[in-house]
Symmetry: C2
Subunit: 730 residues, 2 copies
């Protein structure tokens, strides 16, 4: 197949990203790791994190082997899928895992170095932490583009000929999205349970009962807590965003292959357009990373502005570059599509801003939660839940507007919903998601920076580096909380758009499965046609995917419920593990004499052990459930039920995810606000009340909420891969 | 129009229900109200409740006048609706308000009498409380059937002739459902905020800070708390269930009119069938009420069994009677439809049982929440939220199965989804909702009994009636908590089925609006037809109400978000009001010397004032929002967007409502379990922790959760009434 030369930008960008990541890694490694005590603590955390990750990968490997065998059976024996599916699935999982692994390795090397640099200056600390975050950001985009370019190149040798070739190639590549999703789900759920069990346990006994500060070395759970930041917030997030990034590009490519199936060479252009935007985004991200600098003696505001300059300039440049890319590529309606991309970028920025408004204590909502601390923990919880629920409004409306606008820009404001307008519009929605994620290299850098700074603070506290250093790391940490909130907004927003694009890909996959099974259908004109000839309206009518079909309605109910059930299971898992952790910490305080006086060393290992076991044990059921639900719904309720499930899961899951992330973030910062001396300050009644809020918020924002992003996409991915099964049963 | 003579059973049942209600009321009133102190307290609560209700009705009256003027404009000037709509709307609101008012009046008279009867025996207390609850149950069904029979009778004089007459009559009657919904929403939201502001405030200062028992007369918020039980749990619930009851009957009648439009006299039979089932249900409810008796010295288990005998026998008898009713009526497929009714009944029972499992401390989930109290309030909150989320699974799956089964039973297991199969199936779903609510006379009696017993306990405590009496009222109260949980399951389940039926009614209303505006459409065969000739598949295709239409998807997103936003606003309202209450109670303890020693009387009035103002002030915005959202979505996104909105709101709102109700119930009982002496008992660390859970759960289960039931239905009702507007704009 004739691949346009512009495509080569994709592997080049991939290699460039990986080289830059390696360069940043080396430059971080060359910094001094500090005092022997600092090195010691860092090595505890590092070895804890690595040993956990190894165990997690063992469990995940079993799941992957089982699923790969199943897919091989479906591909080679039942012929429901093409022979590449099992391999694509495996590489997706492998690369997603690698992205998390490299990110985490960097983070565990960077924390002590950040703390050590902060001994000299705030600027030095920021530089090391942020550059280390950039390693993660660039590794994710580099590996993502590598996997995409490699498979696209390889499959284009295998399949060629008519317009069906590109459809087959792009839908096959989607299955590596399923591999990435599966890996990401385990990483987010396992890592999320690990980190929050430790964090909640450490906070309850340490901060509330024993009245010792966070990360105090006397707290037996403190090492586990720091390990958790790495396995949950770094490795989990890396796998998650790897998946979003690839998912958005792949589903858009698949939509392009269908939308432009009849437009000759335009089809190829539509397929590679999202890849090119992502590739150019890599270079602009690197440019943005270099813009992040601070002067000596920078204030918190300067720091924030410095990061904002980097991300905003990248975003602005990619917006401009998109016009050029699409124009030079010569794609039909390049102007409209460029506006679709901008819609996605703008939606990401707005959601990020709204997230900041609802979770930063510079604004009223979080301030009110702090104030509620004066009347106790119950009002803190009530206000936090209220705020989180209200905060769903702006992101949902923004996503709604982005969906409509990107749809309409892409099809020339054709509201008539002809089959063509529909497929072009859906491609527009997909490319908006790509736009939102195009500068992931830098947005993820600001995001991964957070846990590194957090750990640097932990290291400083445990190494007893003194007030001033701790102040600096606190400033870096606070900055990280804000960027983490913004980053979560991005992750959720892009997940919603990607899932929407995947919905359309599901329909294509069903059509392919029908072709394979030689099932014909009757179109809207009453003619008997092959599945490939069916337009989306034909398809919708044939499968009666309308809102009065009880199967669609039941599917939608189950979809919304699945999001709640999944959150409930992960919340319970954290609760159970945290209770064990509390009991262990209490036991150590009781039985090991002298811990609280600093005369005896606590047994950090037993707490690491509790978190590890809990995470291993508790991640299995919810993850398998996420895979099982779409399969069961497909068998029982058919294609109409699956589409209902995905839409219900998307609408319910997106809203629930925003609620949980924002409520959690707001509680965290409400506590910080009290700690800064408001409403009585540290140790006051209001402080104890807001600590309860923060503790409840931990699994909200770091376990259940972010896992929902993946749940939404994974359910679509599973449906896509299992389309053959659904067709066989209906 | 020829009304079959069987119809007269409806007004007869209505009058019978109202007479029985009056009889039970008289017999309750003849009981002794107790000591002067008891009378005094009861009169405080009564006058507080009445004065609040008067104020609330004033605000609601303004809203009704404005909406009635708007509807009159739409009906008489724009001709978008028929001339009866404004009047139907007003009677619905009036009757719904009356149902709440009578129920509350009875409850405020009954509490002291229940406490007084409990001075002699448990049995006496149960009898008075339950019979008073029955007044409420029978008033609701009596007024509901009166309104239905009256309008049906009146409209059948106005409209006659072809099959369109019955469609017009039944869709016009639906507008009185909107009146009832609007009234119910204000009652639930206003009452819910009132009661929980007082309850949360009283608990935080009284139980947690001052360490005095619940309902202690030294607590300044205690009268407001007891008033709240009446205005929220009694008046609010009465209005809510009046609306569900009428809504299910009316929407089913409307579905019957459409489904059997071409079947001659079968159409009339289909319209009156749900009314007849409800009418027979009234008699069987009265029979069930008489079965509730207890012997002297009955245990808690006996009490529960006694109530269960009443409700279960009624349910069983209506199941049997349905076969007879539908057979004698001579309706097509009477056997299948009877099974649809049974599906609804069974779903109600299963949801009730599941609710009990997740919220009663006889079972593991709630026991685990109690146990989490040992590690503090944060783990109690985490476990409670987890349990609540997990508890959504069984109700959603049950409703899903009920939808599929009632649909299939009603159309002879025709999965092909022809236009006819679809409309008959939807009628089946509607009649399942009627089945679920047919024995509302008795289920509501067991439900309204709860707050009466609760208030009796409050009266006993404040009148210092002594240990033994307080023990008896505690037993009655605990029983009330269980029945309240079951009742909530019923209310939510029926709301979901009713809302589904309303979805179909919306389509009919749009068709009528199109007829009125002379808009034709193209059917699936490509022919131009009038709207009245369009089948559901034609309609769905014409408006592109499929899951790939971005307007449907955006609508679904907004629907799910609306449920969260609405909950968030009501949670915040309770939080704000509770904070004010806490400050006021603290102020009184500080400034009025001798309150805590029992030497000075607190200023109950100021707390009543705070709750009243908060409720008045805070109920407006969320309620208007619920009315505004479907109107705005209709204008911007058209018919497809509205259907997306309703489905998203239904799936998301139902799940969220179950979550909130169950989490709240579980926290309440987890606290009760500790108070019974487990995990340290009263005053222990675990007790304080579970009190925080209970306090957070208060607005979950009594403000936000139950209001969602109405939100779901009100959004459908508003869409139905505003169909003309949507059509004018699209």
């Amino acid at each position: 197949m004739n691949i346009p030369s512009a495509f080569w930008l994709v592997p080049i960008a991939s290699v460039a990203a990986l080289c830059m990541a390696f360069y940043f890694f080396r430059s971080m490694m060359s910094a001094d790791e500090g005092t022997p005590r600092m090195r010691e603590i860092a090595s505890y955390v590092r070895s804890g994190a690595m040993s956990y990750l190894k165990q997690q990968y063992k469990v995940v490997a079993i799941v992957f082997v089982v699923l790969a065998i199943l897919f091989s059976f479906m591909a080679y024996v039942l012929k429901w899928q093409n022979p590449w599916v099992p391999f694509a699935f495996l590489t997706g999982g492998l690369f997603s895992g690698l992205a998390g692994f490299f990110g985490m390795k960097t983070a565990t090397f960077a924390s002590a170095r950040t703390a050590n640099a902060a001994r000299k200056s705030l600027d030095g600390g920021l530089r090391i932490a942020f550059r280390s975050g950039a390693v993660m950001g660039l590794t994710v985009v580099g590996l993502g583009l590598l996997d995409i370019a490699g498979w696209f190149f390889a499959l284009s040798f295998v399949y060629h000929g008519d317009h069906m070739a590109l459809i087959t190639i792009t839908t096959t590549m989607l299955t590596f999205g399923m591999g990435a999703s599966t890996q990401a789900l385990f990483a987010r759920v396992g890592g999320g349970i690990y980190t929050k069990a430790a964090d909640v346990g450490a906070d309850i006994v340490g901060k509330v009962e024993a009245d010792i500060p966070e990360d105090d070395p006397r707290n037996p759970a403190t090492i586990a807590d720091n390990v958790g930041d790495n396995v949950g917030d770094v490795a989990g997030m890396g796998a998650d965003l790897y998946e979003s990034y690839c998912g958005s590009i792949l589903s858009t490519a698949a939509l392009g292959a269908t939308a432009f199936a009849m437009s000759g060479e335009m089809q190829m252009k539509a397929v590679i357009a999202p890849m090119l935007i992502a590739a150019v985004g890599v270079f602009l991200s690197v440019f943005g990373i270099y813009l992040v600098r601070t002067k000596e003696g920078a204030t918190m505001k300067d720091l924030l502005r410095s990061l904002a300059v980097g991300t905003n300039v990248s975003a602005l440049l990619i917006a401009v570059a998109t016009f050029a890319i699409l124009y030079l590529l010569g794609i039909e309606n390049w102007l409209g599509l460029s506006f679709s991309v901008i819609t996605g970028l703008a939606a990401g920025v707005i959601i990020g801003q709204a997230t900041e408004y609802y979770t930063s204590h510079s604004y009223r909502p979080t301030q009110k939660i702090s104030e509620a601390g004066l009347t106790g923990s119950a009002t803190v919880i009530i206000k936090g839940i209220g705020t989180g629920m209200i905060s769903t409004c702006i992101p949902v409306v923004t996503i709604g507007v982005a969906i409509m606008l990107s749809y309409l820009c892409a099809n020339g404001f054709d509201m008539a919903m002809s089959a063509e307008a529909l497929s072009h519009g859906l491609y527009g929605i997909g490319i908006a998601a790509v736009g939102m994620l195009s500068t992931l290299g830098i947005t993820l850098a600001t995001d991964a920076y957070g846990p590194i700074a957090d750990n640097a603070g932990g290291n400083a506290e445990m190494s007893e580096l003194g007030e001033e250093v701790r102040h600096r790391t606190d400033a870096l940490d606070a900055l990280g909380n804000t960027t983490a909130a913004t980053g979560k907004g991005f992750a959720i927003g892009s997940a919603a758009l990607t899932a929407l694009a995947l919905l359309a890909s599901y329909i294509e996959e069903v059509k392919i499965a029908m072709e394979r099974a030689d099932i014909t259908l009757t179109n809207l004109k009453g003619e008997v046609i092959t599945a490939a000839q069916a337009t989306i309206p034909d398809f919708m009518n044939y499968f009666q995917v309308n809102l009065m079909n009880p199967r669609v309605l039941v599917g939608a109910f189950i979809g919304a419920m699945a999001a709640f059930l999944f959150c409930g299971l992960t919340m319970e898992a954290v609760g159970r593990a945290a209770q064990k952790m509390v009991e262990e910490v209490r036991r150590q305080f009781r039985e090991i004499k002298g811990i609280l006086e600093g005369k005896a060393t606590p047994d950090y290992g037993s707490c690491v052990e509790i978190s590890t076991r809990a995470a291993q044990h508790e991640m299995i059921f919810p993850s398998l459930l996420a895979i099982a639900i779409p399969i069961v719904v497909g068998i029982v309720l058919g294609v109409a039920g699956v589409l209902g499930l995905l839409v219900g899961g998307l609408a319910g899951g997106f809203t629930l995810a925003v609620f949980m992330a924002n409520a959690g973030g707001a509680w965290d910062n409400a506590k910080k606000m009290v700690e800064e001396g408001n409403f009585g300050g540290k140790g006051s009644f209001a402080h104890k009340a807001t600590i309860v809020g923060d503790t409840v918020g931990d699994p909200f924002k770091d376990t259940s909420g972010p896992s929902l992003n993946i749940l939404i996409k994974l359910m679509s991915m599973v449906s896509i891969v299992m389309a053959g099964l659904t067709i066989a049963f209906s």
